[in-house]
Amino acid sequence: MTGLDCRVVVPEREVDVAFTVPQGQTLALLGANGAGKSTVLDALAGWLRPESGYATLGTEVLFDGGTWVPARHRRVGYLAQDARLFPHLSAEANVAYGLDRAGVVGRSARRRVARKWLERVGVGHLAGRRPHQLSGGQAQRTAIARVLASDPRLVLLDEPLSSLDAQVVPQVRALLAEVLTGRTTVLVTHHAADAEALAHSTHRIARADPVRPPTG
């Protein structure tokens, strides 16, 4: 079983990146600001249709010259640096949101599974709280539970630790390492420590920041 195989070409942003991620492993995508790390994640998530390229996940095509699978049908989970929890829903309801896709049927089953996930990420006691009542670390833990509870075949992490207070970073990093076990994952990060702790391999986007000619 193969994992992710992709090439993303976006000439407007001078991006041409290709890599593979073996099934169940994590690849850290490194590179300078503006090198196109987020562009690649957007294309894999389904928010950006690259001019050319392809992405296959196992045997299924996410996109290529002729095919474009919309984001909601990809089963690709996306975690940004801010948690982006739904502000009007409790932590539990946030986690339950993606359980439909994971095949969890019925209200009580969804509640039970959501609780279990919240406990697993260490915020089980906060299930009834709204996002504005959570600290940054608690919110990100909830967001991690939400992404993984939806049972994605590919997980995309865009700087998942960089908006957290320094003292909670090691714990959330350890949590990610645990829950990502066996998940095919692409991690975008600036921090060597993240790549070291979470990734099996790294891919550095070669292109440096474009050198701007001096103005005037």
Binding site: A45, G46, W47, P70, A71, R72, H73, R74, R75, V76, G77, Y78, A80, R84, F86, P87, H88, Y97, G98, D100, R101, P131, H132, R146, V147, S150
Partner: protein, 268 residues
Amino acid sequence: MPASATRDVPVRPPRALTVVGVLGGAAILLPFVALVAGVDLTRLPRLLTSPAALDALGLSLRTSLAATAVCLVLGIPLALTLTRLEFPGRSVARSLVLLPLVVPPVVGGIALTEAFGRRGLVGEHLHVLGIDIAFTTAAVVMAQVFVSLPFLVVALEGSLQTRGDAHERTALSLGASPARTFRTVTLPLMAPGLLAGTVLTFARALGEFGATITFAGSMQGTTRTLPLQVYLERETDPEAAVALSLLLVVVALAVITLAYGRKRVTIS
């Protein structure tokens, strides 16, 4: 607070600006003060409970509520289309939606007559089917929808644009259908803009005069809303006009308090 208590030091505007600012406030408030002062309290109950006044008030409330409901049904999809769908001519469309805000309402009434009057573009076909809109209560509601829909759309567009679509993307990437995303994410997150917009829409519909009298006429119980009644009384019984005006002001104040008086719900 005792004089020794700790206080923040605010940045004050220049004194001269404050003076002019107070004048600006007076320009808005003085007429209302005069209106209240001009009311004969002993006659007020009788003036407000005359059959004509009660008819007008009832009609105004019914039509304004109906118009607000129609605006919600049409305005939410319109605002979403204008902010979330890319199509050629979108910026032109967004400007055109504002047209009823800037044309005189009487011009709106003429335009509605040209469209839905008995000999109008659409109206003549409806007439063949036995449907006549002009000079009915339905025409009152249509005139109110015409002038107040932009208020709702502008309020919703503003809140949709500042919020962006990150939460919708999250919902879709969790596997939600577009319909579920709208119902469970977009609509609830619209709530603050929706509340403010709905209140403004209702207030504008309640005050509508020019388009109504032009397109719907002024028939007691059918199309003569409170503003039309005020205008009519002004000729025959100025005191009644003042009393009814006060009633409209009180209703408007209540509406504004409802929308802006409560603490704003902030959604990050």
